[in-house]
Amino acid sequence: MADNVCPVHGTIVYLSRKLASGELTEPRTIRISEEILKLLEEISNGHAGEDHLDAVHTRVREFFEHSANPEGLKTGTYLKGILENHGSVLESHIATGNCASMDCVRLAPSPCQMACPAGIDVPTYLSLIADGRDAEAIEVIRRDNPLPWVCGLVCTRPCEMMCVRARIDSPVSIKFLKAFAAERAMSQALYINPPQKPLNGRKVCVVGAGPAGLSAAYYLALMGYTVRILESLPVPGGMLMVGIPRYRLPREVIDREVAMIQELGVEIVYNTVFGKDITLESLKKEGFGAFFLAIGAHKSYQLGLEGEAQYKDKGVIDSVMFLKNVALGQRTVPGNRVVVIGGGNVAIDAARTCLRLGAKEVTIAYRRTRSEMPADIEEVEHAEEEGVNFAFLTIPTAIAGDGDRVTGLNCLRGELVKKQDSDRLYPVPVEGSDYILETDAVISAIGQFVDTDGMDAFQDIQWTRRGTIEVSRASMETAHGGVFAAGDAVTGPATVIEAIGGGKRAAEAIDRYFNGMPQPRIPSVPVRYRREKPLEMPASTKMVLKRPEMAMLNIDRRRTTFQQAELGYTENMVREEARRCLRCDICRRCGKCVEICRDKMGIDALQFGYMDFDNPGETDFRKTAENCIACGACVANCPNDAITMEDRNDERLLMLCGTVINRQKLVRCQSCGTVIGPVKYLEYISKKTGGMKTVTQKARLCNSCARTHTAGFNVGTHPVGQTK
C-alpha cells in the first residue's frame, strides 16, 4: 500500500482484491476476511459504532489461532501490521466519520443509488443496459434487490427524484429500464441466481412472504442459511400480490421472481398463520435460531361514519379486503355506482379495479384538493383517462341506506384552512353545504395498520405509538433477542423498495447476530461494486436524447380487462434512454473542473449548471467546444477521473464520463512532427509567452525543437532588452 493512501481504504482494496481474485481458498480465512472487510467498509464510510475496532482486532487474532494455515497467517500478519501502525487512523474514522486523505469518499455512490432504499447501483446497471448487457444488469441489481422485475413495474422510484439529469431536462426512466432488462433476461433464460454459500446448519424463520420477507429470505439463503417462510395467504408476494392490481403488476412476474428465490432452497409454507397454525415453541424446537417478522400492514382503518357498521358487506367494503379478494380471483363488481374514499395509491387502485369489474360510475371522494393528493401523479392521470371521477373537498359524514343496501354517501363540501401555528391546510366543512352522493358501494381507502394477531408470542417486542414494531433502523433488530423485523410492519404502509431494503438489511444483521459481529451504528450505505467504463457519445447526442413516452394499452381494454396497462419501451428506446445517464458514480459534481477553468485558466468553457443541487443553473455540454482550448487543466484537477483527454486520429478529445464535450484538430511540430496540441491551445500559450515569437520565427515547434532552433541565440547575439 502506498504511503499516501488512507490505511482504511488501502486495506479495503487489499482484502477486496484477495477475495475477488480467488487467492484465498481456505473457508475460515475467507469468512474472517469477509467479516473484516464488512467492518472496514463501515469504518470507511463513517457508519461504524464503538465496537467495530475491537471486532476487527478479535478477527485478526482469529487468523493466528490456526497456525497451520499459511493463507490466514499471511493475511493476519498484514492486517496486524495495519492495526499496529495505523490504529489511530481507524479510530479517527470511527470518531469523526471523516477520512483526512479523502480516499474513502472516492467510493461515494451516485445520488440515485443513495436515494434507493435498497441501494441499487443504478449507474452501473444503466451502463450495462445501454450496452445491451441485460443479464449482467440484472445480476448487478440483484445484489441489492432480488425482485428487479417487480420493482421495474411498481417502484415509487425515489432514484428518479434524485436523478441529476432532471436538473438538465428530465430524469432517466430508471424504473422502466429495469423492467425491460429483467423481462429480457428472464425470456432468454439468462436471469440466474448467483452462487450460494454452502449450508451453515443455521435456520431462520421468516413470517410473511411479502417483499421484505422474500428479500431477507433470498439474502439469507445466499449466505448459507436454511430459510422457511410462513405465509398466511395461499399465494406469495404479500401486498405485491393482493394489494397491487394485476393491470399494474401481472401475477406471472411475481411468480417467476419468487420461483428464483425458491430455487435457492427457500421453503414457503402457505395458508399458515403464525401463532395459530404454528407456534414459536414448535419452531424453536425445530432449531430455528432467529426470526424475521415481515407481517405487513394488512388492516384497513375504519371510516368512523354512521352507517358504516350497519352496511358492512352490504355495500361498505374496505379497500384491502376488496383488492385482496379480486387478486385471489373474485370478479364480483361491488356496485354500479361506486364511491372510493381516500386520496392515496390504494384509493386509485380500488377505483381503477372497480371500472375493470364493470362498475358504471366510479368516484374518488377526497377531503382535500388534487395538489394535496398523496397518490402518484401518473396513477391519478391514468385513472382520469380511464374515466374515474374525482370529488375533491368532499367530507363524508354518514353512509345512507335502505336497510338492506347502501344508497348514498352523505357529504359536506369542505374548504382548506390553516390552523393557528401551522401552515398545513386542513379541510373544514362548509356549514349548510351537505349533499348526498348517490352510490350503491362505498370503499374505504384511508390507510392501513399492522395486524398484531399472533405477535404476543414475542413478549419483549416493543410497539411504537404508531402501532408498528420498534426496531433499531440500522440493524432492524427488535428488543426481543434474535427477532428482527422490517417492511410495513416497521414503517407503516410504505413502499415496496423500502421493504426490500429493510429485508436485505435484516438479513445482514441476522448474519451478524449469528456470528457475534457488532451491528452498525447507521443503516448501511449503498455499495458500489464496480466502475463500468462510460459509453462514448457526442455532446449533441447526450443533450438531444429525450425521455421516451410510455405506450399504453388502448383505453377500452384498460377499462374492461386486467391486462397490463403500460406496454413498456421498445429495445431502441431502452438503449437510448440508458445512454442519457450522466454517470454520477464517476463524476461526483465537486465542481473543481469548472472552478479551475473559470478562475485559474480564465476561460470559463464549462457551463455545468447541473452540478449545484440547491440552485442548478443552465447546462449544455455542446457549449464547451465554443471556448475550450483543450488545455487539460480540468483533467489534471478531476479527483475521480471523470474528465479525461485522449489524442486519437489527429484529434484531441475531451470527455466527461464518455460524453465528448470538445474535439479539436491536433497540430504537429513543424520540425519533428511530434503532436504539440490543438491550435486554440497553442494560441493561448503563445499569448502567455509572447516574447518567444520572434525567436521561433512563428514556427510551431515542440519544446525540444524550439530549444534546438534557438540554441544559437544568447545574450551575446541578442542582448537583454534588444530582442524584437
Binding site: M114, M161, M162, G344, E372, S422, T464, R466, R473
Partner: protein, 68 residues
C-alpha cells in the same frame, strides 16, 4: 408544513419524536428531497421518506424538516 413529493428540504434540528435515533444527529444540516410524503392519511405526525444528499434514504419525523 405540509411536504410534497419532490420538494427540497433541510434537516434543521433534532426531532423529539420517538422515531428519532441517535445516528440521525448526523443528518442535521443535510439537504435532500421528499421521496414519499405521508401517503397514508395526510398526517402531520406521519414519518416521511426523505432522500438526503450523501446520506441515503430514511424515514424521518416531519418536525425536524423545513422546506428550502
Amino acid at each position: 408544513m405540509q411536504f410534497r413529493k419532490g420538494q427540497k428540504i433541510e434537516v434543521y434540528r433534532q426531532s423529539g419524536d420517538e422515531a428519532w435515533e441517535s445516528y440521525m444527529d448526523d443528518f442535521i444540516g443535510c439537504h435532500g428531497i421528499i421521496t414519499d410524503p405521508d401517503t397514508a392519511i395526510n398526517d402531520p405526525d406521519a414519518l416521511i421518506e426523505v432522500s438526503l444528499q450523501g446520506m441515503g434514504t430514511h424515514r424521518l419525523p416531519q418536525d425536524c424538516l423545513r422546506a428550502l
